[in-house]
Subunit: 350 residues, 2 copies
Amino acid sequence: MKVAVLGVGLIGGSIGMAASEHVAGAEVVGFGRSSERLDRARALGAIHRVAGSLEEALDEAEVCFCCAPVGALPEQVGAALAAAPPDCVVTDVGSVKRGLVETFGDERFVGGHPIAGAETAGVEHARGDLFQGAVWYLTPTGSSSGILYERLYRLIASLGARPAAVDAASHDRLLAAVSHLPHVMANVLISQAAGRGDLPRVGPSFRDATRVAGANSAIWTDIYIANRSAIADEVDAAVEGLRRASEMLRASDADAVTAWNEQAAADRRRVLDADSPEGAVQELRLTVPNRPGIVAQVALALAQAGVNIVDLALAPASDMRTGAITLWIAGEEQAGRARQLIGDLGFPVA
Amino acid sequence: MKVAVLGVGLIGGSIGMAASEHVAGAEVVGFGRSSERLDRARALGAIHRVAGSLEEALDEAEVCFCCAPVGALPEQVGAALAAAPPDCVVTDVGSVKRGLVETFGDERFVGGHPIAGAETAGVEHARGDLFQGAVWYLTPTGSSSGILYERLYRLIASLGARPAAVDAASHDRLLAAVSHLPHVMANVLISQAAGRGDLPRVGPSFRDATRVAGANSAIWTDIYIANRSAIADEVDAAVEGLRRASEMLRASDADAVTAWNEQAAADRRRVLDADSPEGAVQELRLTVPNRPGIVAQVALALAQAGVNIVDLALAPASDMRTGAITLWIAGEEQAGRARQLIGDLGFPVA
């Protein structure tokens, strides 16, 4: 199977590696604007060979992945469809889907979006197991070819991902709620805090809440613009939620505040549990001595016992040394084992 | 110096331990509602002896720390002032200050708030170095005794903390902006996402943004109510910020979106840098193989070289194994060393 990858960064490079590793007889051909980057991708094993032109990349291709940034996708997908053979399925990996799907009614086009690897960029970070277990959204429409959709679906499953069909509009609303809105909120939060006369000293909860503030504009301006309508709807809903919270606070109704906060606690558990294939996520809080190396000691003890850490947060003392660690472990059994191991190290666990 | 600690949980217990360790001749006497908890505190070395009554605890005391939860502080501080000798300074450790300071005009009362240890509770987690390097706000007023304020200031400095005077209203607005508002936003965000028909799968940015959602109501309802006016003001300001963001998105102005996002990036750097006594915080992004133990390997390598991790975030692949790590290191030199060490381990760093 000949696989064309247009744009060999983190995602394109990882697709190439995963196809080489998992698909017997796969030939991965790369094309992009930078010949230097293409050479690096080949040297790293992300592609088998570099095409001299878009047409050469697509010649006899059975699958084509368009991996340009969101803003450049309409042009890239259009060019790919123009050059691709009649029985080649063309897909993309952009995090916003509706505009693209509405633009290209071609039966060979199926939009896609793997939920993986947003934090780093560049083929240097590519790896063949990037999509292992990851949800990979596909947005077929009534005009998509069934045969080509099935080919794409099977290929993505063989890369280790879990393909999930969703209509493009639902996809965009979902991503607005769980990814784009948190970015907007982080931006508002950090600029509001920084706008004070005195720059505040901040704690771990503030750092967590603003970690994605000011994320790479080269990627995010495109996302904000491409999904502006769904994001604005989610922002407006958050405005309503905050306005209700403000009114509730001014009314000084302690019972209402408790009920609202307990609802959030229940909602958080439901979301975390739904997100964990290994069982309900348990939260462990450790108090540890104030010295370097302690994170390593804990992580190593758990790793040696085969316990996976789903998520981890440090609450360093204000002198910037570790003071407390919160761990999230999936499944009662693993959490129990973690509790035991940490107790053996002599640290109290809450 | 006789020190009375009323309420021996995480904070009260840590004050007792720190005073025993750092103040020559200190005698720490504890009092509280649960005799079982008081006995445990004594067994753990958090207090020297248990008082049989409030009056006994305060007999000849020179300093009294009121460590009840925020909602119970007015009663506790009032009782302490009634029982305390004329030359005893009475302080508290609550995270909201204005109401308390306005209620008690007694020259012996100085409000306080150490920025430490919010994430765990209970004397089991108490430690003598909890306040090492931590900011400890003090809110003296025009009626506070200068001699008693100086005694408290010196004692807190000798516990390892950095006392910082601030007026109570400014303190409450500051905490509303950097602690209470992020909690409100997290609650709104999680309940909005959970209110969808389909429970979403969420990524690391969503987990970071909602980590404090539904925090312990036994603590937080009191905080929300006690600081409701300042929090509601901050929530209203965030509503305005979000409304502007929503309008900007609907206007589809890419340049405005980029400028807004770059401002957030600059604000984040300013806040992180102001918060770090060791120099500007550097962000390192690593891509690591998908196996347990990798966090330990990295943390251990840095710890052995004496490099402190200010903050750390995992971006696990959707199968809940570690996939990428973001580290924040304070200071160019330490960050450079970290980059070198991680490179030596064979992981690409961005």
